[in-house]
């Protein structure tokens, strides 16, 4: 039996990525990874989300929309930085129109872009923590 207690519903926002992260996030829905069978999914509305996943170095034009999506997610909630750009260690950190990454992330998934198998494992690990103690931040 799986030790998955609940589901983790994720809202994705692209904030200046090269589309590599988006393609790998889409791959998670394919039959090769099928992340829905373990209780993970993308949701269309922040109201349905447990977590906000951001890709890209946080372009200035997307900084406010990202925070607005975050504010619309009901607590308890978690912040996920996906990929090196969002993690603050990509090649575009010092470009003028970026904020250098997605700040205050509870979970950081590294890679340029992250390999979907490894990303799936990290998301599943995060599900365990968020299930045991909803108030515990993933990175604690």
């Amino acid at each position: 039996m799986s030790n998955i207690r609940h589901s983790l519903q994720i809202r994705h926002v692209d904030a200046g990525s090269c589309n590599g992260c988006e393609q790998e996030l889409t791959a998670l829905t394919s039959r090769a990874y099928d992340f829905q069978q373990v209780g993970l999914d993308w949701v269309a509305s922040p109201r349905h989300a447990d977590a906000l996943l951001v890709t890209g170095p946080l372009s200035d034009a997307m900084a406010r929309p990202v925070e607005r999506v975050w504010a619309a997610i009901p607590a308890p909630k978690w912040r996920i930085a996906f990929g090196d750009c969002a993690a603050g260690c990509g090649v575009f950190q010092s470009a003028y129109a970026t904020h250098g990454g997605f700040p205050k992330a509870d979970l950081v998934i590294r890679g340029c872009p992250p390999e979907p198998g490894a990303a799936l494992q990290q998301l599943r690990d995060a599900m365990r923590w968020t299930a045991i103690d909803p108030n515990r931040q993933v990175g604690d």
Binding site: D14, L25, P65, V91, F92
Partner: protein
């Protein structure tokens, strides 16, 4: 008396030349580089602008409307007579007078406390409703903001507000050493990364006078075509998803996954990042490549039979999101979008890179979703053929000696490749081994305005389908 800048550029267009780039420099110089598609020759038109003004080409050449707005945003030069000089990539959050390519910012500007939205062009009148979509979306896609003017379900007008993903790549590249550029250029766009990397490699090699050997050239062709297969598989997977044809969507994603795992094994990266450098290409065993193509065909052929034999799917795509040849020519459309409407142009036929492999441009005439789908299907098979031919030649090829670019390379050059999204151009100026100016004009940039023309007249519910059939890059465009 028409201004010579306008007259010369219009003459280029009338001679059926393709616009490679229209860009400016810090010293008030404007430069348009045109490509003659028969001879492959480039021709440049330059203008020394008087102070901050230059005569707008847009009334005569609507395809440069965005280029001139961009020059206005990042340099502050004003195109006199431009019919729509709203900000393109600039937002109300930019400080007054902040012109990133004129000022060379060493630090981030002090962003103003304002919303990032620019004014939208909408239709006014009784019964017209305005629907805003984005910049955040319900699915996993890149960020863009669209303002639809609707009458009932029908789209009257679509105003595309892109550049939500603008990072400032061209500014970041300025001042970089030749060694440092590759890692940045690779990541402009994951879907066109090999094309961007190859452009940079071709630029440095041209400036240094290095003549790459056949092994290097064939290695690059294999990578460029592998990227086309990957990108087309992705796009072909998305179009069925747009009409709820889940079986075709999932099966195409599975083929794409198999392809990416093979690329990872052969080249060390699922998107082929960091595989091409000046004087270098990641080595590969031709036998592995041939086995790979053979394996992918066994999955691909049944999938092609599935989608082509599904009448409901084909009927659903026919007649939706039509782009005409006249519009393609008027707006300088590129790539699959333009070939689906009857324009016979594929930069691969001009590139010395491809030598006698003779890629055949795939052309259809209907200009609808079905035509764009069909062109991608045929191009994918043509790419598999090119990979096989190149791999067969690579067998007998000795490895080229490693070449490193000299430290103090200097000069200016305009280079291009045919990316999966069309003519991809880099306009590069380097002084003693450091980048002075780096301008990137991806094929997608010219196709966005075409999308805005293809959508009106269709039901708004068909926008996702039309959008997926264009499959335009945001990251290449926004930079």
């Amino acid at each position: 008396m028409v201004n010579p800048w306008i007259r010369q550029n219009v003459a280029m267009k009338e001679a059926h030349a393709e616009l490679l780039t229209l860009t400016a420099t810090r010293d008030h110089r404007l430069q348009a580089t045109w490509l003659h598609p028969r001879s492959g020759c480039q021709e440049q038109v330059t203008l020394e602008a008087s102070q901050e003004y230059f005569p707008s080409l847009t009334p005569m050449l609507p395809e440069v409307a965005w280029d001139e707005r961009e020059i206005h945003d990042v340099f502050g030069y004003i195109p006199n007579g431009h019919p729509d000089l709203r900000p393109l990539l600039r937002t109300p959050r930019w400080p007054d007078n902040f012109r990133p390519l004129r000022d060379r910012p060493s630090a981030r500007p002090a962003w103003r406390d304002a919303e990032p939205d620019n004014p939208a062009l909408t239709v006014e009148g009784e019964g017209v409703t305005i629907m805003k979509v984005g910049p955040t979306h319900a699915g996993v896609i890149e960020s863009g903001h669209f303002v639809f003017s609707l009458m009932g379900e029908n789209v009257l007008h679509m105003d595309a507000h892109l550049f939500q993903n603008h990072r400032g790549v061209e500014s970041l590249l300025e001042g970089q050493t030749v060694d440092a550029v590759g890692a940045i250029v690779t990541r402009i766009c994951a879907a066109d990364t090999v094309s961007h990397q190859t452009n940079w490699a071709l630029a440095v090699e041209a400036l240094a006078g290095y003549d790459s050997g056949a092994g290097l050239t064939l290695g690059r062709i294999v990578l460029l075509e592998s990227e086309r297969v990957l990108s087309h598989l992705n796009d072909l997977a998305q179009i069925p998803a747009g009409v709820g044809f889940q079986v075709a969507h999932q099966q195409a994603l599975a083929i794409k996954e198999a392809w990416q795992r093979s690329l990872q094994r052969l080249y060390g990266h699922r998107f082929l990042f960091d595989t091409v450098r000046p004087g270098w290409v990641v080595p590969v065993d031709p036998e592995d490549l041939l086995r790979l193509v053979h394996a992918i065909r066994r999955q691909w052929t049944p999938w092609r039979r599935l989608v082509e034999g599904h009448h409901g799917f084909n009927d659903r795509m026919a007649g939706v999101g039509v782009t005409t040849l006249a519009e393609v020519i008027r707006f300088g459309g590129q790539g699959v979008v333009s070939r689906s409407a009857g324009k016979v142009f594929d930069a691969r036929t001009l590139l010395p890179l491809y030598q006698d492999l003779r890629p055949v441009p795939v052309v259809e005439s209907d200009g609808d979703v079905r035509a764009r789908f069909s062109v991608r299907v045929q191009e994918l098979e043509e790419s598999l053929r090119l990979i096989e031919q190149a791999a067969a030649r690579l067998r007998a090829m000795p490895r080229d000696a490693r070449w490193c670019p000299p430290d103090a390379v200097s000069g200016q050059v305009v280079v291009y490749t045919e990316s999966p999204h069309g003519l991809n151009v880099h306009d590069v100026a380097v002084v003693r081994g450091r980048v002075l100016r780096y301008h990137i004009r991806a094929g997608t940039y010219r196709n966005w305005p075409l999308l805005a023309h293809a959508v009106p007249g269709n039901a708004v519910a068909d926008f996702p389908l039309i959008n997926k059939s264009f499959e335009l890059c945001y990251s290449c465009t926004d930079r």
